[in-house]
């Protein structure tokens, strides 16, 4: 029988979100690169970061960036692993590592942003 007969549980929502978050990241990551390197000081001095972090806009921007970026990367990684046949225990272990490390690094990044 078919594994999935509807869209529920098939991974379709994450498939759509992967594309939407990807389109967002195309603009944001390339923009981030140009902003950080057009003037080396803007990305590489404490003073410049402090100045940006005083604006709620940039704080929200970075919080969104880190959330969308991590989710897109880890959802993609999980998508690659799902292409391979794995024993349930291995499957669960990899999924666990992805989820737990993702949460840990999200907390780490959010903590850095909110420390200002």
């Amino acid at each position: 029988m078919y594994k999935h007969t509807g869209s529920r549980g098939s991974g379709a929502p994450s498939w759509v979100l992967q594309r939407i978050s990807g389109l967002l990241l195309v603009v944001v990551v390339i923009g981030h690169y140009f902003v950080m390197h057009a003037d080396p000081a803007s990305g590489h001095t404490y003073a410049a970061v402090l100045e940006r972090m005083h604006h709620p806009f940039w704080k929200m921007f970075d919080l969104t960036f880190i959330t969308v970026g991590l989710w897109h990367g880890l959802n993609g990684t999980w998508g690659i692993f799902r292409d391979y046949e794995m024993k349930p225990a291995v499957n669960l272990t990899i999924y666990g590592i992805i989820i737990l490390s993702g949460i840990a690094f999200w907390v780490l990044g959010v903590n850095t942003i909110l420390s200002f």
Binding site: V29, H44, F105
Partner: protein, 143 residues
């Protein structure tokens, strides 16, 4: 195009490598492989990036000292090379969206050419942006 067996296929042992290396790959197959490799690379990088920036919580000196290392020529070149992963993954990602949502299957080969062309142009542009000023200073100091 007629199906071609790649040279040396018979020499490949059975298993994962043979399954993955032993079939003819069109441009789109390479794009698929590159998209995965660059994606994994960028995901690994975002972890390193988040960890590296935690020095921001330790004050100005800790961060600026760390940035002295990251603004050395070796790290700048590495950051520039990383941009090639960003560019390929970003533009090929747009190509995937076009294939899925905009009838891109009819012109995905042409989009792939645009992906590479746009990537190369922006990669060179970023190189100019990152290295023009230090190169000018270097040349000026030689005079």
């Amino acid at each position: 195009m007629a199906y071609q067996l790649p040279k040396g296929q018979a020499k490949l042992p059975d298993g994962w490598l043979r399954t993955n290396l032993g079939y003819y790959k069109h441009g789109g197959s390479w794009a698929w492989i590159l998209h995965r490799i660059t994606g994994l690379g960028l995901t690994a990088y975002i972890y390193v990036h988040i960890y590296a920036l935690t020095t921001l919580t330790q004050g100005e000196k800790a961060f600026d000292d760390e940035m002295k290392l990251f603004t050395t020529p070796v790290f700048k070149v590495l950051e520039w090379l990383l941009f090639s992963l960003v560019l390929f993954h970003a533009f090929n990602g747009v190509r995937i969206v076009l294939v899925d949502w905009a009838n891109g299957a009819r012109y995905h080969k042409q989009i792939l050419k645009v992906v590479y062309a746009l990537g190369i142009v922006l990669f060179i542009g970023m190189g100019v942006l990152m290295f023009m000023t230090p190169l000018k200073t270097m040349v000026a100091s030689l005079k």
